[in-house]
Subunit: 382 residues, 2 copies
């Protein structure tokens, strides 16, 4: 098929030439977000290890490293493998792995890059230690504490016994380097009120702090508490408990995070990730765009229609239905073939639907494609 | 990386060796569904053109053709391109395309395979005609009528004027072969009560029938009405209006379709698509599996936990939280490392998250991998 019949944009293409639906980054906005978070971490003296589960892309991980990030987090073994294959060499799997076959892959990867992982059970630690021993590999290990989400993580009271078990497999005989605590309160990120998020952060800080105190009281050094997301990081840093931030969504900002009431002393991040869509059908009182929930995730609600007085209604897997906002009229509706920009409800699973980013310089209205970045870890759920 | 460290199963692997999360087909169940729908269409004398937007896989399309299907439907140009590249040669894009660059791709494809497309506007017909003329290609064209969904499709009263416009571009001068009406009521498929679905089908049938009458009254032959989904096809066929069925989900059956009250004279389809997950963390009163909504779509609700007395709660992108059903106890919870099978809430967008199917013969408990099928049209949203 000739280049003119490809659906993949090329560097230098004008925005109008980008086939729809497409996952588009406003580079100018993204770079402002990148710089704002880097400056925040630098000024507060905390490490930044952004969560690459959000962007799944080596090119973006490199930009984050260049701006001062110490490395990236991922949630899955296969994500770590994909980013390592693309050249990223300092990766933290901030999640538990207990399957022996998967742990053998973790161990093989730990021989190639600087790797860390989370644990929350004695059985998980023993399995990890066995895999590392069999591969002759070493890995940084964080004990995960449940600081309020009620998902993974041991109770704070169990942290010292788990840390003890990790230390029992320390080098040179074992392959587990105890690195500290994983303390991430996922549910707190999306509480709408700033004071609600502050309270959840205080609760998480008290649990993480208690877990750390138990570990140091047992005579084990606890080098780091890592965690925090885009919704709570400013509160978390103010507590003094966290030494490393894992925020990811700050880079793109989705509709869901923008729905949070802003907190004090927090950088303001801009929407930098969009789905470009096109009107493919028109009714008397509605328009239909070619982007449904195979193009943007709706687990955290529907997308916002960018800079138009239109509401997006769920049109199924392949369609979105646009109607005027209350008080508007059919004259607000776009015409057949018009471009409509959508701000995804949730960036992480939206990114996971696409093969590539189209990185645009100069704004959505008249920008030019500056880069096309593969999303190497797309679909890496294992 | 050696074969033993790959996450991709191989033919002959036991079910226990399948890395999680994985998209797994119970082949025995799928083949019963395949045969039941093929028999239904054959006995009622209607054509079956299953919707490949659901499975996005050439291997499955070939099984459907072998069982009597006349071809497949897709929703997107890039889906058609992907399946054509994999050898599928009779494809209907049951959706509108209005972008000139995309229409050039449609025309290029129409020179290689038997291709059909839907239209719902005069402007769309003119653009399509221009693209076909410029490529020297021909295509079957269905005029889409809105039969109740309120999404794409012209009003039934406008069908004859659109058909007239299509016919004005008929071969040999033009490239548009008027093929009939597209009449699909998407929202009707998921109405829970059988009588509700029957009523929606009657309404759709009356509109499709009126549109067809208008066309034939204008002296234009209307060869076919195509449409119908897994929720309404038996009602649709009983109306006598539809000559071709586009059902797709019957092959896999998701939790959402199983929630419909069954209608009369309808084959019973079985769950044949599963996400294999693994318990990666245990709390005192819950278990966490490694499959969240990056592994299964939740637009139509959460997955069902297969053959266990457990409820699945949303644990975010990468996790699912399992708790005992009311009246159960923590003793019902699986242990660390255990396999848990999930029935996705909605099969189409779940499939769209994965690179491949693992096709299992002999059941979920002790089956063997018979095939690994690439999902060629995954992510083809453009």
């Amino acid at each position: 098929m000739s280049a003119t019949l490809s659906s993949v944009p090329e560097v230098g293409d004008p925005v109008a030439a980008i086939d729809t639906p497409a996952l588009v980054i406003d580079l100018d906005a993204m770079e402002r977000n990148l710089a704002a978070m880097a400056a925040f971490a630098r000024e507060r003296g905390v490490r930044l290890r952004p969560h690459a589960k959000m962007h799944k892309c080596a090119a973006i991980a490199r930009l984050q490293r260049a701006a001062g990030a110490v490395g990236v987090c991922v949630q899955k073994t296969s994500e770590a493998e994909a980013l390592a294959a693309a050249g990223i060499d300092d990766i933290y799997i901030s999640n538990e792995v207990v399957d022996p076959a998967k742990l053998a892959r973790v161990a093989a990867l730990a021989r190639r890059v600087r790797l860390a992982i989370a644990v929350d059970s004695a059985e998980g630690i023993e399995r990890l230690a066995r895999a590392m021993r069999e591969a002759g590999a070493a890995i940084d290990v964080f004990v995960e504490v449940d600081v309020g989400h009620g998902r993974c993580g041991a109770p704070a009271t169990a942290a010292s016994s788990l840390a003890h078990r990790v230390v029992a497999h320390a080098p040179p005989e074992g392959g587990l380097r105890f690195a500290g605590l994983q303390a991430y309160h996922g549910a707190a990120q999306h509480l709408r009120g700033a004071e609600e998020r502050a309270a959840a952060s205080r609760h998480a800080a008290s649990l993480a702090s208690a877990a750390r105190a138990g570990i140091t009281a047992a005579g084990i050094a606890c080098p780091l508490v890592t965690g925090a997301g885009t919704g709570t990081f400013a509160f978390d840093v103010a507590s003094g408990v966290w030494g490393e931030l894992q925020a990811g969504s700050y880079l793109f900002m989705d509709r869901d995070y923008a729905d949070n009431a802003p907190g004090p002393n927090t950088p303001r991040f801009e929407h930098a990730l969009f789905v470009k869509s096109q009107v493919m059908s028109r009714g008397a009182a509605h328009a239909v765009v070619d982007a449904g929930h195979k193009s943007h995730a709706i687990d955290s609600g529907l997308p916002q229609v960018w800079q138009r007085t239109l509401a997006y209604a769920n049109g199924g897997d392949e369609h979105g239905i646009l109607r005027p906002l209350p008080g508007g009229s059919a004259a607000d509706l776009p015409q057949l073939g018009d471009t409509v920009w959508l701000v995804p409800g949730h960036c992480d699973p939206t990114v996971n639907l696409h093969e590539r980013y189209v990185a645009l310089r100069g704004g959505l209205a008249a920008g030019v494609v500056e880069a096309v970045w593969p999303i190497e870890a797309r679909g890496c759920v294992g």
